[in-house]
């Protein structure tokens, strides 16, 4: 493989990772406020279908994205309403919605499978794209990819460097304390569940309009679950999450390359590879042995190592909040 090919592969990994990054950032915002939106797989399928359909009918990509965002918000609204207002199990609601989205998208999109639709135009950023190597990989893409990159930074900045971000984290970590400081916890949760849902919807459309163009039954089934896994792997941090998304894309690309190199080994082994790796990664970040390993390290290293290797979920994740 020569350099040009390698750069092309890396660029495609970045492209492939962009919808996952958007979905992961959305879900991080939701979960950091204390709500689990487990419906990602269903809502992404549903929004991918809607985005494709609306884009095709109106001949406008951006209307497709807008419609997809609305669909994502509707799913998120059901999760929020069910868990915050009706006090239901977030897991049960999310899971049922996953199945519902899967079936409903198959049902509503059945007449539009394998059709040509609109696609996001390619747009290389002038100047930046001429940087050798890096420019080709990151800046010779399209607007959705740039949006995903900007979103990583924006989410991180919003969470860690702004007043509203502090309120958001307070609602997810110590809702009682946040409430005592005058924050309307449930309102925060509504806002960020809806915002996260909109981003998840955009992620779905990013698949059907940009990365895996078109629509077919069960088009991107499984990607929602991957996004949820990456949120955990990323320790609820957008930067680590983006890293996880790229890593996942890289293992998939690696599997393709390895398969070409070793045609005698069964396809199954390579197809399962990303998933098995994912389990091992989750195993590594959660295990007690990792903790022991960190404790065995010199004092100065422990803090940074812990930040890289360990994750801890928002304290109040998935638990309903009642005032007073």
């Amino acid at each position: 493989m020569d350099n040009a090919q390698l750069i092309a592969v890396l660029a495609s990994i970045v492209l492939q990772a962009s919808p996952l990054i958007i979905a992961v950032c959305g879900e991080i915002l939701t979960e950091r406020s204390g709500v689990v939106n487990l419906s990602l797989d269903g809502s992404m399928l549903m929004s991918a279908m809607t985005g494709f359909l609306v884009g095709m009918k109106t001949d406008n990509v951006w209307l497709g994205f807008a419609a997809a965002a609305v669909v994502g918000m509707i799913f998120a609204a059901i999760v929020a309403l069910g868990s915050i207002r009706l006090n239901q199990s977030q897991v049960a609601i999310g899971f049922v919605l996953t199945l519902l989205g899967d079936d409903l998208s198959a049902f509503m999109g059945q007449n539009y499978t394998r059709m040509r639709g609109v696609i996001v135009p390619h747009y290389g950023i002038p100047l930046l794209k001429d940087i050798p190597v890096v420019g080709k990989i990151f800046f010779d893409q399209d607007i959705v990819v740039y949006f995903a990159m900007a979103l990583i930074a924006a989410t991180w900045w919003w969470l860690n460097r702004t007043q509203p971000g502090l309120k958001l984290r307070g609602s997810g970590e110590r809702p009682q304390a946040a409430f005592a400081r005058g924050i309307d916890v449930n309102r925060q949760r509504y806002i960020y569940t809806l915002l996260g849902g909109a981003l998840v919807g955009i992620a779905g459309a990013a698949y059907s309009l940009n990365v895996k163009i078109g629509w077919s039954d069960g088009h991107i089934r499984g990607m929602g679950w991957i996004a949820l896994a990456i949120v955990i792997f990323g320790g609820w941090s957008p930067i680590r999450g983006a890293f996880g998304a790229v890593l996942f894309g890289a293992t998939k690309a690696l599997a393709t390359v390895l398969q070409r190199a070793f045609p005698e080994v069964s396809v199954v082994a390579f197809n399962s590879l990303p998933w098995i790796l994912m389990i091992f990664v989750l195993l590594a970040v959660g295990s007690d042995y990792t903790e022991r390993f960190i404790n065995a390290m010199p004092q100065g290293w422990q803090r940074p190592l812990r930040r890289i290797l360990r994750v801890s979920p928002p304290m109040a994740l998935g638990t309903p909040f009642h005032e007073g």
Binding site: Q88, S89, V91, L97, D103, W225, V268, M278, L283
Partner: protein
């Protein structure tokens, strides 16, 4: 309305019982609107659905056959969810059980059926237990979120199934022809589960119902079940009480997977008599691994409640097929309808809980006025110790994602 229930507590309890039914009707009402929008007459459509599900002895038998794997999976889900573990890997566990059970039948084609059938069912049980035990160990000892690990094991299971059915386990007859349909040879006739001729109803249904009662006894009448439920309700308190939390989490997932695996074995020996794949999990399982979760939730995570719940879903699935044939309505609509039913039933739960609370508050208020003592069983609001007779509420750990129960 609440006042009426305070006056007549029995009426309130009756209302609680009727609520899932009302919710189902409401969901069907929404479905009727969807049918109308599609240009189909809802009354005719539901007529076709009912006829398809219950219209003849054969139809009822088919309904029960479809409900059997749902019930078996649901039993496992009851155990897992009661322990506070969210097992979404029913599909993969079902396939793992089916593969192991099929292997038994393929390796010993000449053995008598009376030996092979129990052996195969046990193999299914073990296969599912292995596939369920992996996420159990990962969760208990390595803090891996079980929702994610079970989902990933589903995907690994489908890869493994496709590999086995296209290679090592493929029907030798299919190797000869060019089409090479990925399926195993038909298992010997002697291994078919006994069935009630001329219908397709087989012994598996009876096994599932008996197991439902056994699981009920396990969960509410034995120490093992008590520990499992205690871990689900409050892992911290259980730890202080000397219950080995980790071991019980593994046990719950082992059992949960085992029942799904048994469902796989029953499907192979009772229905298909071989394994086949269309590349996806749902091709073989018919999404029983997922629908079983829905049935369990519908039955309020009570093994006995899962029996009618699975039956209703079996009826919806069988009825949907005939509805599709009669009215040219896509069957996907019915799967969407299934989802609606569950959403409605799950959310109806809150109304009964809220009613119970206001009933209790109202009763206390009126008792305070008249100065009389209220009996403890005035409403469902004051609940006696968790004997399974009362539809007990889901463990609180269910509300949280996996880690929260640590």
């Amino acid at each position: 309305m609440v006042d009426v229930f305070i006056k007549y507590p029995r009426l309130g309890r009756l209302f609680d019982l009727a609520l899932p039914l009302l919710a189902t009707l409401a969901a069907l009402g929404v479905g009727a609107i969807m049918l109308q929008l599609l240009g189909a007459n809802p009354i005719k459509a539901y007529g076709a659905l009912l006829n398809g599900a219950f219209g003849s002895t054969n139809a009822v038998a088919d309904t029960i056959v479809r409900a059997t794997p749902l019930l078996l999976v649901a039993l496992g889900i009851c155990i897992a969810f009661r322990a506070g573990v969210i097992n979404i890997g029913g599909e993969g566990q079902l396939v793992a059980g089916a593969i192991l059970a099929t292997l038994i039948g393929l390796k010993m084609p000449d053995a008598p059926g009376i030996v092979i059938i129990p052996l195969a069912l046990i193999a299914g049980f073990v296969g599912g237990a292995i596939w369920g035990g992996i996420p159990g160990v990962l969760k208990a000892y390595y803090n891996v979120n079980e929702i994610l690990s079970t989902i990933m094991l589903n995907i690994i299971a489908v890869q493994g199934m496709n590999y086995l059915l296209r290679g090592p386990m493929i029907d030798p007859a299919q190797m000869e022809v060019s089409s090479r349909i990925p399926q195993t040879a038909r298992l010997a006739q002697a291994f078919d589960l006994p069935r009630w001729v001329p219908t397709r109803l087989h012994l598996g249904a009876l096994i599932a119902v008996i197991l439902a009662f056994l699981v009920y006894i396990l969960l509410w009448r034995t120490t093992v079940g008590y520990r499992i439920r205690a871990v689900g309700l409050n892992p911290e308190a259980s730890r202080y009480a000397g219950i080995r939390v980790r071991r019980n989490i593994v046990l719950a997932l082992l059992l949960s997977g085992a029942f799904a695996g048994l469902a796989g074995a029953v499907q192979v020996y009772g229905v298909h008599h071989r394994m086949f794949t269309d590349g996806s999990l749902a091709g073989f399982t018919g999404s029983a691994g997922f629908n079983g979760i829905v049935a369990a939730l519908f039955g309020k995570l009570n093994p006995i409640g899962a029996i009618p719940a699975s039956f209703i879903f079996g009826a919806l699935i069988v009825g949907a097929n005939s509805l599709q044939r009669a009215m040219q309505v896509p069957a996907a609509l019915i799967t969407a309808l299934n989802g609606l039913v569950v959403v409605f039933v799950v959310s109806s739960d809150i109304f009964s809980r809220r009613l119970a609370r206001s009933r209790q508050i109202g009763a206390e208020a009126s008792a305070a006025e008249t100065g009389t003592n209220i009996k403890p069983d005035i409403g469902a609001g004051s609940k006696p110790a968790p004997t399974g007779n009362v539809p007990a509420e889901a463990p609180p750990a269910l509300n949280a994602e996996g880690e929260a129960s640590k």
